[in-house]
């Protein structure tokens, strides 16, 4: 970005995202649907993510201090409507896999002092480790708190010999002092998109999956290209009557379960959750 470029394209920096039809001409817009009814809280997605993205296992003590590095975490809730005759609620816990929501209007992006986090053309909220200075403003401003900071220098001790041999060679090992977060398995997407480009086509639906979607035993996580109207994820978004560019969704009938978390904050997340159906009388 040169100075003249900056001046010429000033308006493009001021574009409000998202807008209607933003991805109509784009080849890709990555999005997800997570069905909470199918999620059994097994943590397979978390494990897959650790393996795929070289996440360090921080140990019990640091986990207790809140310094864990899980890009996708399974949250356990028992809330209103639960009767507690024993230590646990009678109808079991509710699980919610929480990962970076890849917001279209991400609160983390405008506040980064060095522009280390920004939006990619295919709708991802990316993090440039080399540019990050570790001000942690992005994390402070993230309403979902899904950004993880390298409080320690994990390459020092997280993978003692020979464990470093199992690291994924396609993913950087991050040093201390930088912020990191879910990338929607950027390395897989990149490889897939490059391959498709050389073959002169766009990626087919389901050709590339994120590690969490691939590992989920109940297929609770659906990943795909929202710009491709025929993809499974696009059809699910349409069926659930969720519009990427709207901050409140009108449903034509009750029982449509799709919602986006903290939508009222105008973050326009790329992940739709399907509400869990509970039969409290049973």
């Amino acid at each position: 970005m040169s100075l003249s470029n900056l001046i010429q394209n000033w308006n493009s920096f001021r574009t409000r995202r998202p807008y209607e039809g933003q991805y109509d001409d784009a080849p890709y817009k990555w999005a997800m649907v997570i069905d909470l009814d199918s999620c059994i809280g097994c943590n397979a997605c978390t494990v897959a993510c650790y393996a795929e993205n070289n996440l360090p296992v921080v140990g019990k003590e640091r986990f207790g201090k809140g310094q864990a590095m899980h890009w996708i975490r399974i949250e356990r809730y028992w809330g209103e409507g639960d009767t507690m005759t024993s230590e646990f609620p009678d109808h079991g816990a509710q699980y919610l896999p929480m990962l970076c929501q890849q917001c279209e209007a991400a609160p983390c992006e405008p506040v980064c002092p060095v522009g280390a986090t920004h939006h990619s053309p295919d709708g991802l909220n990316t993090q440039v480790y080399n540019r990050c200075v570790g001000s942690r403003y992005c994390s402070a401003n993230c309403p979902y708190k899904v950004r993880y900071f390298n409080w320690w220098n994990y390459p020092d001790r997280a993978w003692p010999n020979p464990l470093e041999l199992q690291l994924n060679p396609d993913v950087t090992v991050r040093s201390k002092g930088v912020m990191e977060k879910c990338t929607f398995c950027m390395q897989r997407l990149r490889a897939g998109m490059d391959k498709a480009k050389t073959e002169g086509r766009i990626l087919a639906d389901g050709e590339v999956l994120t590690a969490c979607a691939q590992a989920c035993p109940t297929s609770a996580i659906t990943f795909g290209n929202l710009a491709d109207k025929k993809s499974k994820v696009a059809r699910m978004w349409k069926n659930q009557q969720v519009d990427l560019a709207k901050d409140s969704q009108e449903k034509s009938e009750e029982g449509i379960r799709g919602y986006r978390i903290l939508e009222e904050l105008n973050t326009y997340p790329s992940i739709v959750y399907l509400e869990r159906v509970r039969n409290l009388e049973a």
């Binding site: 809140g66 405008p110 200075v133 994390s139 402070a140 409080w151 903290l262």
Partner: protein, 487 residues
């Protein structure tokens, strides 16, 4: 006591008006020669307590450096920061120090523009306070960075790849605003010192003489130099005023532009500026009492001046209190449920002690300034001025910590998060660093402005002369002789 008789033009009634002479800011025994002597003496042998303060500060600072090196080597994890609590004491103390830096400029620039002469004996050290608090605040920006060795990415510097900082980020505005403010206030401090540095040069020997000669840039005190100096100084003062207001407004946008409950408040900029002036003013009172004792400035830092300073502090404290209560009221009656829950959490949750401590120290304690005994007892006043600043520090703490502890997303609600010894060590070290620099400054440079106090003496004499001319010839004998003589 003098009185004069006026007749009302229309009613033709004789009105007798009594003049009660106000207590002068400076005593009658302050002459030009004495000013030079006293201030130059402060550069030589202070009371022994100076060394106690200096070395305690050095020790604190060394401990802070140790903590920072430890953190640098091991990573930010040693500070016990975690996922929701990403900022901790570092940013809280950063705002505290930036705030402290505001009153110096208020005192030196605003009061200079409106010709409030009582500022003259105390503005120099207040300005030095501004400069050193800004240096301390700048340290916290670096200390809190995960990769402080890459700090220059935040600055817009020319580079091969034409990468820019992100201009939409309030942190970049911060870096720019603080950089500008630090440079200008340093320049303002230095510019105001030039005539005094020339006096030091004429009275010093050896290495000090060389230093002062270099810094006084050939000041001779000619008419032309004075005329230029006055214009330049006034221009700087006019430039600094809006700058000072803008800096803390910009710091407040770090919070106000974010979405977090308790931060997303429109009234933050004025609230922060007033809070800054408030803590700065109580800081000036603290240093007033310390310098007065340590460097024997009793003749210059007098009770009437202190009274005016206290009045100003009290007024600012009241405006700040008002703005703070307004913030709570708008949250309480507003429709943002999360912000309201956060407000209730602040007052009743894990950090309730800090919240009510702030209310007590920063909102209730200023009322003790109304008591005459407090204003005249320097030990009590010193303690109260410190308590006010503890209150302001707590205010910054409770802006940061409870908001992170109870933000929008319930999964990250933390209970009873507490910073580690590394954070406390660095915070303590920052106080050491500031005190050390400040004490060193007062030992090397004149911390009372000699030429401006002389102006003040001169103006007081002129006032008395004018008054004497008005009064009865028989009472003219009461007016003291024109003082001074030696420049």
């Amino acid at each position: 006591m003098s009185h004069s008789v006026h007749s009302h033009p229309q009613l033709d009634v004789q009105v007798e008006r009594k003049f009660i002479p106000k207590q002068k800011d400076l005593g009658a025994d302050v002459t030009w020669a004495k000013i030079n002597k006293d201030v130059l003496k402060s550069l030589e042998k202070p009371r022994p307590v100076f060394w106690v303060i200096f070395f305690s500060a050095l020790a604190l600072f060394s401990f802070g450096v140790y903590c920072e090196v430890y953190q640098y080597q091991n990573g930010m994890g040693v500070a016990d920061l975690n996922n929701p609590q990403v900022w901790g004491l570092y940013i809280a103390t950063f705002i505290f120090w930036i705030g402290m830096g505001h009153s110096g400029t208020l005192l030196s620039a605003l009061l200079h523009i409106i010709h409030a002469d009582w500022r003259k004996p105390i503005y120099r050290y207040s300005e030095a306070m501004t400069t050193f608090t800004l240096l301390t605040a700048a340290l916290f920006v670096l200390v809190h960075m995960g990769r402080l060795w890459q700090f220059y990415y935040v600055v817009a510097y020319p580079n091969e790849r034409w990468t820019w900082p992100n201009f939409t980020s309030p942190l970049v505005w911060d870096a720019t605003a603080i950089g500008t403010y630090l440079t200008s206030s340093l320049l303002f401090l230095y510019m105001g010192m030039i005539p005094d540095l020339a006096i030091c040069r004429d009275n010093a020997r050896g290495a000090r003489r060389a230093l002062y000669r270099f810094l006084s840039m050939g000041w001779q005190g000619t008419d032309r130099q004075w005329a230029n100096f006055k214009v330049a100084y006034m221009t700087m003062a006019c430039f600094l005023m809006p700058l000072a207001v803008s800096v803390h407004s910009i710091v407040s946008t770090d919070f106000a532009v974010s979405q977090n409950p308790g931060w997303h408040v429109t009234s933050f900029p004025p609230y922060f500026v007033l809070g800054a002036l408030y803590s700065g003013c109580s800081g000036i009172i603290t240093l007033f009492i310390v310098l007065r004792y340590v460097f024997r400035f009793e003749a210059y830092m007098t009770q009437p001046i202190l009274n005016k300073l206290i009045k100003m502090t009290f007024a600012i404290a009241m405006v700040w209190t008002y703005l703070d209560l307004i913030e709570y009221a708008t949250t309480w009656y507003g429709s943002d449920e999360v912000a309201k829950a956060d407000l209730i959490y602040r007052a009743t949750g894990d950090y309730a002690l800090q919240f009510w401590g702030m209310i007590f120290c920063a909102m209730v304690m200023p009322f003790t300034l109304l008591i005459r005994f407090v204003r005249h007892n320097y030990v009590v006043l010193l303690i109260i001025s410190l308590i006010l600043n503890v209150g302001m520090w707590l205010e910054r703490f409770q802006i940061i910590t409870p908001t992170f502890a109870k933000s929008h997303y319930p999964w990250t609600w933390t209970a009873g998060w507490w910073p580690s010894w590394v954070q406390w060590g660095i915070v303590a070290g920052s106080f050491g660093w500031f005190t050390m620099l400040f004490m060193l400054y007062c030992k090397i440079f004149p911390s009372v402005s000699m030429y401006e106090v002389k102006e003040m003496v001169h103006e007081q004499n002129m006032e008395e002369k004018a008054l004497a001319a008005q009064t009865d010839v028989h009472e003219a004998g009461l007016v003291p002789e024109m003082k001074g003589g030696q420049a």
